[in-house]
Symmetry: C2
Subunit: 244 residues, 2 copies
Amino acid sequence: MPRTRAGRAPLTRDRVVAAASDVADAVGTQRLTMRLVADRLDVEAMALYRHVADKDDLLDALAERVLDRLNDAAAQLPGPAPGTPWTAVARERVLVAREVLLRHPWAPRLVHERGTMGPATLRWFDDLSAVLFTGGCSADLVHHAMHALGTRAIGYNAELLDVTPTGAEQDGEEMLSAMSAMSETYPAITRMVAEIAHDASTTLGWCDDQAEFEFGLDILLEGIERRRAAGGDGPPSGATGLSP
Amino acid sequence: MPRTRAGRAPLTRDRVVAAASDVADAVGTQRLTMRLVADRLDVEAMALYRHVADKDDLLDALAERVLDRLNDAAAQLPGPAPGTPWTAVARERVLVAREVLLRHPWAPRLVHERGTMGPATLRWFDDLSAVLFTGGCSADLVHHAMHALGTRAIGYNAELLDVTPTGAEQDGEEMLSAMSAMSETYPAITRMVAEIAHDASTTLGWCDDQAEFEFGLDILLEGIERRRAAGGDGPPSGATGLSP
DNA sequence: ACCTGAACACCGTTCAAGT
DNA sequence: ACCTGAACACCGTTCAAGT
């Protein structure tokens, strides 16, 4: 590992982002300062600008770094026993994501604020989409579910899947090769997009925010009413006093 | 209306908060600056500190102001036709709240960031709780529903109902009179708290975040699976291709 | 009583200069 | 090539001073 004359390891983008994560752990994302990040690296603030464009870029990178950790955690999950319903598999993935996010109290807010759609985020959504496809969900249903679960699981709120890879031109050739690269890396997302685009009659625009919101809301109301009718309460599956 | 020598209306906390709302509309909450708010009032920044403690206080007040607008909008809703199921009434309330919130693009994030539990927020939750009680939901179910719907409707994420009114002492007398005042102003919330406290056997701590999260998650998964089994998609109630 | 001017300790970011 | 010093245009906030 090369060293500068002063004996410090050389700065890299990764070390800068890691230092930012440490600073956020210590003082929160709100009070994170370029100067504080630099201090942790024994460097002047201006040195950071060689590795990140500006503070926004650094925070985006920090959000992606958190999503990387989610993917690491998901990868270490044991494969589900054969015959496990897809809902149980999806449930575990979301709960693991939440567990990792809560290790950094600042993480949910950061991911929510910056709706970045970087490789780590795409990976997470692709894996979860695959679970639903395997469970027999249609492309449309997977799409709606990603909105509803994505919001709940990782606080993700941006337009899902404005996924034209950065740098890809709009002219045909490049578009095609970009899409075929996408389909190898993110097969479930690609399938979802392709099937919905193919069957455009049921889609009222790509990611209609209002429709997605109502989808999630209606499911919640339906589930609450079902529990009321059953006379129960909720999580503790208690046998409480019936409703007045 | 009294005027200063310079002919301007005198500053009030309300005018300061209103100006902050205008500034936020123009440049967003992120770029809102004490100096910008002051400019809009033709005043120096330091004059604001006579009416708000600091910037944090101003942003809290701004969040409460938005919740006031939600309550105004809810108050103007026509009463539901007799026989309307509670789910439809609740649905409309949540959708109206969202509509108002979206009029100020910065509003959802602000309300989410500052989980204030001021009078306006309490009023909104009390009204929605009343709808569920009227629909026959148990206190426990109302509580869980407030968490699930509150998050979805207004991005509310703080501990619901750390509601000991500010300034109330812990000694018995004052506590009692504070609670009876609460019960007049917020009858549904008071009922919810009282019934849950009374029947403590089913409650595992007041506002167990993890349990509330799983409550909402399970309802979503259940609803998605139900739609898969029905072979449908979601919002457009379309008759698309069945799942693969 | 209410507002202002000047000042303080901080920001993010730039650019020429050092090594 | 990589980092630093000095500087710029901003912040939030204070406090004594004005009217």
